[in-house]
Protein backbone atom coordinates (compact mmCIF):
# COMPACT_ATOMS: atom_id res chain seq x y z
CA UNK A 1 0.00 0.00 0.00
CA UNK A 2 1.29 3.47 -0.81
CA UNK A 3 0.24 7.09 -0.89
CA UNK A 4 1.19 10.07 -2.98
CA UNK A 5 0.62 13.83 -3.24
CA UNK A 6 1.62 15.13 0.20
CA UNK A 7 4.97 15.48 2.02
CA UNK A 8 6.38 12.54 3.98
CA UNK A 9 5.15 13.14 7.50
CA UNK A 10 1.49 13.94 6.75
CA UNK A 11 1.61 10.98 4.36
CA UNK A 12 2.41 8.62 7.16
CA UNK A 13 -0.36 9.96 9.39
CA UNK A 14 -2.92 9.96 6.62
CA UNK A 15 -1.93 6.49 5.54
CA UNK A 16 -2.37 5.31 9.11
CA UNK A 17 -5.78 6.99 9.29
CA UNK A 18 -6.79 5.40 5.99
CA UNK A 19 -5.69 1.98 7.17
CA UNK A 20 -7.36 2.27 10.59
CA UNK A 21 -10.56 3.50 9.00
CA UNK A 22 -10.69 0.48 6.73
CA UNK A 23 -9.62 -2.21 9.19
CA UNK A 24 -11.93 -1.11 12.01
CA UNK A 25 -14.92 0.19 10.15
CA UNK A 26 -15.11 -1.84 6.96
CA UNK A 27 -14.67 -5.38 5.79
CA UNK A 28 -16.70 -8.54 5.95
CA UNK A 29 -18.52 -9.67 9.06
CA UNK A 30 -18.34 -13.44 9.18
CA UNK A 31 -19.67 -14.18 12.61
CA UNK A 32 -22.28 -11.46 12.95
CA UNK A 33 -20.46 -10.45 16.10
CA UNK A 34 -17.71 -7.86 15.95
CA UNK A 35 -16.38 -6.67 19.26
CA UNK A 36 -13.39 -4.41 19.54
CA UNK A 37 -11.73 -4.40 22.90
CA UNK A 38 -10.09 -1.02 23.30
CA UNK A 39 -7.11 -0.69 25.60
CA UNK A 40 -6.85 2.82 26.95
CA UNK A 41 -7.46 4.90 23.86
CA UNK A 42 -10.39 4.90 21.49
CA UNK A 43 -8.76 3.84 18.25
CA UNK A 44 -11.53 5.23 16.07
CA UNK A 45 -11.05 8.55 17.81
CA UNK A 46 -7.31 8.33 17.16
CA UNK A 47 -7.95 7.82 13.46
CA UNK A 48 -10.33 10.79 13.34
CA UNK A 49 -7.93 12.99 15.29
CA UNK A 50 -5.11 12.17 12.90
CA UNK A 51 -7.33 13.05 9.97
CA UNK A 52 -8.57 16.35 11.43
CA UNK A 53 -5.11 17.43 12.55
CA UNK A 54 -3.75 16.61 9.11
CA UNK A 55 -6.44 18.72 7.45
CA UNK A 56 -5.71 21.59 9.83
CA UNK A 57 -1.97 21.28 9.13
CA UNK A 58 -2.72 21.40 5.42
CA UNK A 59 -4.77 24.60 5.86
CA UNK A 60 -2.03 26.26 7.88
CA UNK A 61 0.51 25.34 5.24
CA UNK A 62 -1.76 26.77 2.52
CA UNK A 63 -2.16 30.00 4.53
CA UNK A 64 1.61 30.29 4.85
CA UNK A 65 2.05 29.67 1.12
CA UNK A 66 -0.40 32.47 0.29
CA UNK A 67 1.13 34.98 2.68
CA UNK A 68 4.73 34.33 1.62
Amino acid sequence: MSTSELPASPHDELTLAEMVNRVLDKGAVISGDVVISVAGVDLIYVGLRVLVSSVEAMRERDARDVSS
Binding site: M1, L24, G27, A39, V55
Partner: protein, 224 residues
Protein backbone atom coordinates in the same frame (compact mmCIF):
# COMPACT_ATOMS: atom_id res chain seq x y z
CA UNK B 1 -8.35 -23.02 25.16
CA UNK B 2 -7.23 -20.51 22.50
CA UNK B 3 -9.70 -18.85 20.16
CA UNK B 4 -9.27 -17.57 16.62
CA UNK B 5 -8.81 -14.05 15.31
CA UNK B 6 -9.99 -13.84 11.68
CA UNK B 7 -8.17 -11.85 8.98
CA UNK B 8 -9.85 -12.66 5.68
CA UNK B 9 -11.76 -15.15 3.58
CA UNK B 10 -9.77 -16.90 0.87
CA UNK B 11 -10.26 -19.70 -1.67
CA UNK B 12 -10.38 -23.11 0.01
CA UNK B 13 -7.02 -24.25 -1.35
CA UNK B 14 -5.11 -21.15 -0.22
CA UNK B 15 -2.30 -21.35 2.30
CA UNK B 16 -0.61 -18.40 4.03
CA UNK B 17 3.01 -17.73 3.07
CA UNK B 18 5.58 -19.47 5.23
CA UNK B 19 6.42 -17.61 8.41
CA UNK B 20 3.59 -15.10 7.97
CA UNK B 21 2.90 -13.57 11.39
CA UNK B 22 -0.25 -11.82 12.45
CA UNK B 23 -1.24 -9.75 15.45
CA UNK B 24 0.89 -10.28 18.52
CA UNK B 25 3.38 -12.08 16.26
CA UNK B 26 1.12 -15.14 16.13
CA UNK B 27 1.44 -17.67 13.30
CA UNK B 28 -1.22 -17.40 10.59
CA UNK B 29 -2.93 -20.54 9.31
CA UNK B 30 -5.88 -21.45 7.11
CA UNK B 31 -9.13 -23.05 8.26
CA UNK B 32 -11.02 -24.43 5.25
CA UNK B 33 -14.47 -25.79 4.57
CA UNK B 34 -16.91 -25.93 1.65
CA UNK B 35 -14.44 -24.52 -0.88
CA UNK B 36 -13.50 -21.44 1.15
CA UNK B 37 -11.05 -20.73 3.96
CA UNK B 38 -10.34 -18.12 6.57
CA UNK B 39 -6.85 -17.05 7.51
CA UNK B 40 -6.64 -16.93 11.27
CA UNK B 41 -4.30 -16.89 14.24
CA UNK B 42 -4.79 -18.46 17.67
CA UNK B 43 -4.82 -16.41 20.87
CA UNK B 44 -5.61 -17.03 24.50
CA UNK B 45 -7.84 -13.98 24.58
CA UNK B 46 -9.56 -11.67 22.14
CA UNK B 47 -6.94 -9.18 20.93
CA UNK B 48 -7.44 -5.55 21.94
CA UNK B 49 -7.55 -2.79 19.38
CA UNK B 50 -4.37 -0.84 18.75
CA UNK B 51 -2.69 0.70 15.76
CA UNK B 52 0.03 -1.99 15.79
CA UNK B 53 -2.59 -4.75 15.79
CA UNK B 54 -4.63 -3.03 13.09
CA UNK B 55 -1.47 -2.77 10.98
CA UNK B 56 -0.68 -6.44 11.57
CA UNK B 57 -4.23 -7.39 10.62
CA UNK B 58 -3.98 -5.44 7.38
CA UNK B 59 -0.52 -6.87 6.63
CA UNK B 60 -1.90 -10.41 6.75
CA UNK B 61 -4.80 -9.52 4.45
CA UNK B 62 -2.41 -7.85 2.01
CA UNK B 63 -0.19 -10.96 2.07
CA UNK B 64 -3.09 -12.87 0.54
CA UNK B 65 -3.47 -10.43 -2.34
CA UNK B 66 -1.98 -11.03 -5.77
CA UNK B 67 -3.06 -10.45 -9.34
CA UNK B 68 -5.18 -13.60 -9.39
CA UNK B 69 -6.57 -13.82 -5.86
CA UNK B 70 -8.02 -10.98 -3.82
CA UNK B 71 -9.06 -11.81 -0.25
CA UNK B 72 -12.40 -10.83 1.21
CA UNK B 73 -11.01 -8.76 4.10
CA UNK B 74 -12.58 -9.34 7.49
CA UNK B 75 -13.41 -6.42 9.72
CA UNK B 76 -11.14 -6.27 12.75
CA UNK B 77 -12.53 -7.78 15.93
CA UNK B 78 -13.98 -11.07 14.72
CA UNK B 79 -13.33 -13.86 17.09
CA UNK B 80 -14.34 -17.50 17.34
CA UNK B 81 -13.98 -19.53 20.50
CA UNK B 82 -12.93 -22.60 18.53
CA UNK B 83 -11.97 -23.77 15.05
CA UNK B 84 -15.22 -25.69 14.97
CA UNK B 85 -17.23 -22.50 15.46
CA UNK B 86 -15.24 -20.77 12.70
CA UNK B 87 -15.87 -23.66 10.29
CA UNK B 88 -19.60 -23.59 11.03
CA UNK B 89 -19.87 -19.83 10.43
CA UNK B 90 -17.83 -20.04 7.25
CA UNK B 91 -19.83 -22.96 5.86
CA UNK B 92 -23.12 -21.21 6.61
CA UNK B 93 -22.39 -18.54 4.00
CA UNK B 94 -19.90 -20.30 1.75
CA UNK B 95 -21.82 -19.33 -1.40
CA UNK B 96 -21.66 -15.66 -0.48
CA UNK B 97 -17.90 -15.85 0.07
CA UNK B 98 -17.36 -17.74 -3.16
CA UNK B 99 -19.32 -15.11 -5.07
CA UNK B 100 -17.34 -12.27 -3.49
CA UNK B 101 -14.00 -13.98 -4.14
CA UNK B 102 -14.95 -14.42 -7.77
CA UNK B 103 -16.03 -10.76 -7.99
CA UNK B 104 -12.82 -9.46 -6.39
CA UNK B 105 -10.41 -11.72 -8.27
CA UNK B 106 -8.00 -9.64 -10.34
CA UNK B 107 -9.18 -6.40 -8.74
CA UNK B 108 -8.21 -4.21 -5.83
CA UNK B 109 -9.39 -1.06 -4.08
CA UNK B 110 -7.89 2.39 -4.65
CA UNK B 111 -8.69 5.32 -2.41
CA UNK B 112 -8.81 9.00 -3.26
CA UNK B 113 -9.16 11.52 -0.46
CA UNK B 114 -10.07 14.95 -1.79
CA UNK B 115 -9.66 17.84 0.63
CA UNK B 116 -10.52 21.52 0.65
CA UNK B 117 -11.49 23.73 -2.26
CA UNK B 118 -15.12 24.40 -1.31
CA UNK B 119 -16.62 27.43 0.45
CA UNK B 120 -14.71 28.42 3.59
CA UNK B 121 -15.60 26.58 6.76
CA UNK B 122 -16.57 28.55 9.85
CA UNK B 123 -15.78 27.85 13.44
CA UNK B 124 -18.61 26.79 15.71
CA UNK B 125 -20.36 29.86 17.19
CA UNK B 126 -19.16 29.96 20.76
CA UNK B 127 -21.99 32.23 21.88
CA UNK B 128 -25.02 34.00 20.50
CA UNK B 129 -27.04 36.95 21.76
CA UNK B 130 -30.27 34.99 21.77
CA UNK B 131 -31.65 31.56 21.11
CA UNK B 132 -33.02 32.75 17.79
CA UNK B 133 -29.65 34.15 16.74
CA UNK B 134 -28.04 30.87 17.68
CA UNK B 135 -30.52 28.86 15.58
CA UNK B 136 -30.10 31.22 12.63
CA UNK B 137 -26.36 30.78 12.86
CA UNK B 138 -26.68 27.00 12.97
CA UNK B 139 -28.94 27.06 9.90
CA UNK B 140 -26.43 29.24 8.07
CA UNK B 141 -23.61 26.88 8.94
CA UNK B 142 -25.63 23.89 7.78
CA UNK B 143 -26.29 25.62 4.46
CA UNK B 144 -22.57 26.19 4.01
CA UNK B 145 -21.84 22.57 4.85
CA UNK B 146 -24.39 21.55 2.21
CA UNK B 147 -22.66 23.86 -0.27
CA UNK B 148 -19.31 22.23 0.47
CA UNK B 149 -20.80 18.78 0.00
CA UNK B 150 -22.47 19.79 -3.25
CA UNK B 151 -19.22 21.21 -4.59
CA UNK B 152 -17.38 18.02 -3.62
CA UNK B 153 -20.13 15.87 -5.13
CA UNK B 154 -19.67 17.68 -8.43
CA UNK B 155 -16.02 16.67 -8.36
CA UNK B 156 -17.09 13.08 -7.64
CA UNK B 157 -19.38 13.19 -10.68
CA UNK B 158 -16.53 14.46 -12.80
CA UNK B 159 -14.33 11.63 -11.56
CA UNK B 160 -17.06 9.10 -12.38
CA UNK B 161 -17.42 10.46 -15.92
CA UNK B 162 -13.67 10.47 -16.47
CA UNK B 163 -12.84 6.99 -15.25
CA UNK B 164 -16.06 5.47 -16.62
CA UNK B 165 -16.09 1.71 -16.60
CA UNK B 166 -12.54 1.47 -15.22
CA UNK B 167 -14.12 1.45 -11.77
CA UNK B 168 -16.20 -1.67 -11.35
CA UNK B 169 -17.69 -0.19 -8.22
CA UNK B 170 -17.47 3.10 -6.29
CA UNK B 171 -18.06 4.25 -2.72
CA UNK B 172 -18.34 7.90 -1.69
CA UNK B 173 -18.06 9.21 1.88
CA UNK B 174 -17.94 12.70 3.33
CA UNK B 175 -16.03 13.67 6.44
CA UNK B 176 -15.24 16.83 8.40
CA UNK B 177 -18.48 18.58 7.39
CA UNK B 178 -17.92 18.11 3.68
CA UNK B 179 -14.31 19.34 3.73
CA UNK B 180 -13.09 15.84 3.00
CA UNK B 181 -14.52 13.46 0.44
CA UNK B 182 -13.34 9.88 0.24
CA UNK B 183 -13.77 7.98 -2.99
CA UNK B 184 -13.07 4.26 -3.14
CA UNK B 185 -12.83 2.51 -6.47
CA UNK B 186 -12.69 -1.19 -7.28
CA UNK B 187 -10.35 -1.47 -10.24
CA UNK B 188 -8.85 -4.38 -12.17
CA UNK B 189 -5.08 -4.66 -11.83
CA UNK B 190 -4.85 -4.46 -15.62
CA UNK B 191 -6.66 -1.10 -15.61
CA UNK B 192 -4.67 0.48 -12.79
CA UNK B 193 -2.36 2.52 -15.02
CA UNK B 194 -5.24 3.97 -17.08
CA UNK B 195 -7.20 4.66 -13.89
CA UNK B 196 -4.31 6.64 -12.41
CA UNK B 197 -3.84 8.60 -15.62
CA UNK B 198 -7.48 9.68 -15.51
CA UNK B 199 -7.35 10.49 -11.80
CA UNK B 200 -4.26 12.66 -12.29
CA UNK B 201 -6.04 14.56 -15.05
CA UNK B 202 -8.98 15.29 -12.73
CA UNK B 203 -6.56 16.40 -10.02
CA UNK B 204 -4.83 18.76 -12.46
CA UNK B 205 -8.19 20.43 -13.16
CA UNK B 206 -8.85 21.07 -9.47
CA UNK B 207 -5.73 22.80 -8.22
CA UNK B 208 -7.59 24.36 -5.28
CA UNK B 209 -8.18 20.90 -3.82
CA UNK B 210 -5.68 18.41 -2.43
CA UNK B 211 -5.89 14.88 -3.75
CA UNK B 212 -4.39 12.01 -1.77
CA UNK B 213 -4.23 8.72 -3.61
CA UNK B 214 -3.84 5.51 -1.62
CA UNK B 215 -3.70 1.88 -2.57
CA UNK B 216 -3.75 -0.79 -3.63
CA UNK B 217 -5.95 -1.94 -0.75
CA UNK B 218 -7.79 -5.16 -0.16
CA UNK B 219 -11.42 -4.34 -0.97
CA UNK B 220 -12.48 -3.38 2.56
CA UNK B 221 -14.96 -0.80 1.29
CA UNK B 222 -16.83 -3.20 -0.95
CA UNK B 223 -18.14 -5.76 1.50
CA UNK B 224 -21.17 -4.82 3.50
Amino acid sequence: MPGLHIYCVMPGDSTPPDRLRGIDDAAVFAVATAGVAVWASAHDRRPAAGTAFASAHNRVVEAGMNTEVTPVPARYGQWFDSERAAVAALAAESERWTTLLRHFAGRCEWGVRIMGGGPAREMHPARAESGTAYMVELARRKARTDDRRSAAARVAEQVALRIGALAEDTRVEFQAGGDVMNLCHLVAWNDAAAYHTHMRSVRDEHRSRRFLFTGPWPPYSFVE
